[in-house]
Symmetry: C2
Subunit: 497 residues, 2 copies
């Protein structure tokens, strides 16, 4: 009685039964059962492994990846589904702390399965009537949380792309001739972002033809927050090199430290210098749901654009990223449109301003709004707010517990970043090779952790700090027990180091 | 007995039952039943409507899109799933001929649901071990069909992005200093594409800072295929304007006409001029599976890069697009990498060359390989080849049937593009307002068609041709009966015009 195959239990009409047993549909139904059992049931069970580690050669052999002339049997294919599930990392597992998209929300997941099955492209009202209206509504709600009653926006394939959109629209705003004539018709441009800003700023500058040398790196304070006085200094420096400052990226929730740049002070400087101010709030934007924590982004409403990834703290699922604009002059459309006549015909029988696809640099564009919309409908603004506040509360708990234990040393960060100090290094802070030895601890613990499979957490070095762990606690399934387990497990993994 | 809810039929173990009835999982299971019944069962039934047309104001009211403070009941949410399904266009319907991604493959769809549930990002072996190896294998197979035993590649969010990747890598190949110094350190550059090349070339030129004026438009012949002699003329013209020709885009299967550019002749010209040759085979690349039709892309192996969208003719589902490179010097990585230390740590315990994410301009990147891999495993190279050949055979049937009827006039195209000539215009080719009247026929028929809901097909004007229909026949569910229905229905919709 372990299976819950609707056919074997006879609970379907004859007509549906006949349709279902045609091969593809039966397969889909049975695979859904595998998904429920192997990924969602076992994968969220803290007694099960987060990952079943295999090294690449072993895994290649186990998966039999080769693609051949002839197809395989139903049974073989179902085993393949099980294998993919088995050897993949369970990011829905309560002990997956490795990335900012940890956890699972079942309503969002429902929206994602619905999206995949409907298989349409978010470019015209004609083929995506529901999703064109839904995107409009979701963007409007997110903008209102930022503090804008009007504006524009679009869902993009990830935060890096959202940041690129902002940079390109800003460039068009400053130098509209760039769209037709390219950068040879403009002066050299300068971009500003902090040391701790996301690397997508450099990727964007390279991709957009501006060049990484024209990204001026602004210093941060000990907590990872941009120093406004250094921003001013860097603007002066750029000008002295005949580069025109046009774009400043402030970060709300840096990737590693979780630091928030001082938005009001950056807005003042941006305004004084006639620059476009962007806020990369991919990680931290979700604090806008929390009355308690939204002071962290005070001033965000003064930005010209904001990147925000609901697939992170809100758990909408990959990918769910928006870029929002304060602009009300249709700048996004003017900047990106190419007016393809085969897609955006002007003699359609409905209001063609609903064909929003030309705002995108993509042609076909995945529907990313439904998962967020359905989750929001399910738990309400209130539920999303609770989710954010729970994440902060758990992080606070973890910090307090670490302070009680000798083995942990917290970094000066908003995210919970810490060093585990193994027995051999305790009270040796002043020895000559202390930092070098400490830098080797996290990789060893990580390797043991992954091979044991009990949990996953990321580590990295940063700006003179040797390898430290960064803990992500966003999943609503988490409890303080999981936090205790985490601390005990780290201690156990590193007890002989 | 209409429902196939596993719980109501008692076919699950007690442990699984308790887990399932916790709200989110029960909801997901019930929603899956709605998806099976409302989208896949009804949506693929040719007796049902392709779309349930509502105008935007009606639809807004029906959907109740507003997002509120508090969540909704299980029952209400399930109704929302039904509503989304009901008012969305059924792109899996056999009579959806409107876009190049028509139809459904159940194995690919299984891969997509699996991908969504596993919710990981294709950037490191650490969090996507299965998918890193799988992407490598699928790219290798696709490259071998192009004719390359080595090379590189990556899955991108759609064909426009794949084309942009190719353009950026080509630019870096020609002028590596662009990555750091930007376009101010290079001469003006020139790009070449045909009149019928996809509009993403212009979007790419604008986004990359090259500018749309630097896209030189090459003439096509009557069938929509690039005239090589005009390419040579345009290269001379660009040089005379001190622009450096560095990138030519040849198209294998233009979006509207389905024309194939003469790849060998374009390769000769590219080589002579030291240019990067890209082939946008987003639509036509799949002919590589067919021994019978692959002559259409003869010479494709001489290209430097190829865009290919398995979500089109192969039915992998949106989004599934690759850009492939002949290069073996790791140009893609050099061009795009930013070496983020928090993600691509070099002291990991496994071979970090498997952390391929830095080849991307995205950070988080959706897993797009699994749906194609699973479908390929299911039906084999042979099955994919049959799928392509069936699409060609149905198009041929349609052309023959149209030639038998007075009411249709075929365009000079490879794709089935045609005008419906309504009774009032028959044998009036020589009247002064014939073209203008004919241009109004397709929009009227389209409106009636959508409101009737029986089928969907796209229309557009092009290069002096007034509005004509473009028929897409890729779904393996299609039969000649569907073709006959299509012709009869068009005649019926336009009988009073």
């Amino acid at each position: 009685a372990q299976c819950f195959n609707p056919i074997s239990c006879g609970a379907v009409s004859e007509e549906l039964f006949l349709w279902l047993i045609s091969d593809g549909k039966l397969f889909l139904t049975e695979a859904f059962n595998v998904i429920m059992e192997e990924i969602l049931h076992k994968g969220t069970d803290s007694e099960e492994k987060v990952c079943e580690w295999k090294d690449p050669d072993q895994l290649r052999a186990l998966l039999d990846l080769d693609l051949r002339e002839h197809g395989e049997s139903h049974k073989q294919l179902l085993q393949r589904v099980r294998d993919v599930a088995r050897y993949s990392v369970k990011t829905c597992h309560p002990r997956f702390f490795n990335q900012l998209f940890a956890g699972v929300d079942y309503h969002a997941l429902t929206g994602r399965l619905l999206t995949e099955t409907l298989n349409t492209s978010q470019y015209t009202y004609e083929v995506a009537p529901v999703f064109v209206l839904m995107e409009e509504e979701v963007l409007c709600k997110l903008r209102s949380l930022v503090g804008w009653s009007e504006g524009d926006g679009i869902f993009c394939p990830g935060g890096s792309m959202s940041n690129m959109y902002a940079m390109n629209v800003a460039r068009y705003w400053a130098f509209p001739q760039v769209k037709t004539q390219g950068l040879w018709a403009t002066p050299r441009m300068a971009i500003f972002t902090s040391q701790q800003g996301h690397y997508s700023m450099k990727k964007a500058a390279a991709f957009l033809g501006i060049g990484t040398d024209n990204v001026f790196i602004v210093q941060v304070d000990e907590s990872g927050s941009m120093r406004p006085e250094d921003l001013e200094a860097k603007i002066v420096q750029a000008k002295s090199q005949d580069a025109v400052p046009f774009f400043v990226n402030a970060t709300a929730g840096t990737t590693v430290q979780g630091a928030f740049d001082p938005l009001n002070r950056i807005a003042d400087i941006s305004e004084r210098n006639g620059m476009w101010m962007h806020v990369d709030a991919a990680w931290g934007g979700s604090v806008l749901f929390s009355k308690k924590h939204k002071h962290l982004v005070a001033g965000i409403e003064r930005a010209n654009s904001v990147t925000w990834n609901p697939h992170k703290m809100l758990l909408a699922g990959l990918q769910c990223s928006v870029v929002l604009f304060r602009d009300t002059t249709n700048l996004l459309m003017h900047c990106h449109s190419a007016k393809a006549t085969y897609l955006f015909q002007q003699d359609k029988f409905y209001d063609t301003s609903l064909d929003t696809g030309d705002k995108s640099i993509q042609c076909g564009r995945k529907v990313d709004c439904l998962k967020l919309w359905l989750m929001w409908k399910a738990i309400g603004t209130h539920g999303l707010s609770e989710r954010v506040e729970k994440a902060f509360a758990l992080a606070r708990y973890l910090v307090e517990e670490m302070e009680k234990r000798d083995n942990f040393k917290l970094g000066p960060f908003v995210n919970v970043c810490f060093w585990f100090i193994p027995p051999s290094l305790r009270r040796k802070e002043n020895s000559a090779d202390y930092q070098e030895s400490l830098s080797k601890v996290a990789p060893v613990i990580k390797e043991r952790m992954i091979k044991r499979g009990t949990m996953m957490v990321g580590y990295q070095p940063m700006d003179g700090h040797v390898n430290f762990f960064r803990m992500v606690v966003v999943s609503p399934q988490l409890t303080t027990k999981d936090m205790d387990f985490f601390l005990d497990e780290i201690e156990d993994l590193g007890k002989d180091l």
